[in-house]
Symmetry: C2
Amino acid sequence: MTTMQLSTLYGPVAEDMILVEDMLESIKRDDLPPLKRMLDHVLQSRGKRLRPALVLLSGTFGDYNLNKLVPLGGAIELLHTASLVHDDVVDGALSRRGRPTANAVFDNAMTVLLGDYIFANAAEMVTRTGSLPVTRLFALALQKMTRGELDQDASAFDVGKDIQNYLARIAGKTASLFANATEGGAMLAGCTEGEIEALRTYGYSLGMAFQIVDDILDFTGDEAEMGKPCGSDLLEGTITLPAMLLMERYPKDNPVKRFILAKRDRAERLQDALAMVRSTEVLEVSMDMARSYIRRANEAISQFPATDARRSLTDIGEYVLSRRS
Amino acid sequence: MTTMQLSTLYGPVAEDMILVEDMLESIKRDDLPPLKRMLDHVLQSRGKRLRPALVLLSGTFGDYNLNKLVPLGGAIELLHTASLVHDDVVDGALSRRGRPTANAVFDNAMTVLLGDYIFANAAEMVTRTGSLPVTRLFALALQKMTRGELDQDASAFDVGKDIQNYLARIAGKTASLFANATEGGAMLAGCTEGEIEALRTYGYSLGMAFQIVDDILDFTGDEAEMGKPCGSDLLEGTITLPAMLLMERYPKDNPVKRFILAKRDRAERLQDALAMVRSTEVLEVSMDMARSYIRRANEAISQFPATDARRSLTDIGEYVLSRRS
């Protein structure tokens, strides 16, 4: 997605996003050369900054104060970055979106510390909002994220987990930070309890849909754009919604289960598993689930007047469902 | 050091330390079995809880409110624990104080996430103090710690660093959290600016002495009690004060430099380096530096009335200088 398209998507807050970018830039100004090099590497890939945009958009429904909203947006993006940095170490991933990961360039030890340093900066940045309740919410989101990641790692290669477990896992791993962005933005803007709850539900539901689509794309996405081969999740033993649905609906002699439990011929068995997921209805069933989360997200914000910001939130839901990488 | 001795050392706050212990216990009650197992492992080794004791002792110089002081004490101990967990991953250490490290028992990937989870719990706990300034100070301490660790790792095997660099490194790595404990405790107790500054200086200076003694013990300590062989720092390329002094004072044909730059015969060269450090005056010069930090710590708190708590702080300084492991 180009910058042009993003500016359309983020509508009324698109121009203010430069302030988030400036705040992220500011932590790169470090006088320790090896640290500066590492920060440059992990913060240079200008992502979509989706979570900070959600903070600003949510803030438009109350007192839109950028002095508070921008630090929360920056902190959430840093938290997201730190968690990717550690995930890549944990998974031993060597590239992400076509670029070498930090652990590929700098070694695992330094990368663990780099992630910690970015976490610390995120924690410091969130206190600049001046709000202890928002800071507390942020710490709780980090707790849920790391717990979700731990659960995912501990459940790897475990074919006995069900969809409820999957949903709990992605709620922690992904939706909690999206919810934190919208709830925190609304709190900083002094929204009412009801408005805060509505925006929290929007963020949470959007996050759930986002992760489900991410997990679908691991079976169907454009490998070049994703910068990784299809089937990466299964290869790591991470059993996501489509794979779970397949095992549930076709319990006998299931190729996903065979791959997960296989000790040999793994490459071939992986292709069998991918092929069956792609040829059955499970991807469409998964997509339906993502769509229903987006419906829930839109319902939650239907109480707000039809502002440009509300339209942006709806557009972001559409974008999440339509992305191809 | 036995519990008995600790209760003497911590004087007026010794009994209240059980509340910190309870708070640390509370985060182990987790319903995710693998996470619970890991938390049990890293939190079961009842350490001295020196940093939380400093929080409570500092709090006695103002309004001694345990509802605020205990969460800060717990948070600081968790931060310390999380940082040890990650350090052991980074160093590939398999035992600490005679017990297997988390990464030795659970694998590196899970241990990185475990550390993150403990960081998150620390961040949540500090917000229970109800003080945004103290929460912010805590985030800044984490920033300084991780930056110090990064600097140490990036400087490994670099014989060109000087004592000023060493002091900056240990100020970040160790003294910042000690300073955070005493400064934060004083802030929560509503002490005056002057009192807060005095307690901050005490904590900082104590932390500097603590780390210098730690670094001396790597040359002279009781291997059984430390649970690791002498020379572990040099083996990892970490050049501490005694080694630096030796290189500075005996620049010609120096055995520390020879070991650090050696490609072969490392075991033998390490013994040469240890022997020369032990046989020269550099250990005593290092110890003098630790003593002068303790003097500075005591001077800082001399403005307070001679309460039991102030006596405890002085005793802790003595203890730091006299420990053998």
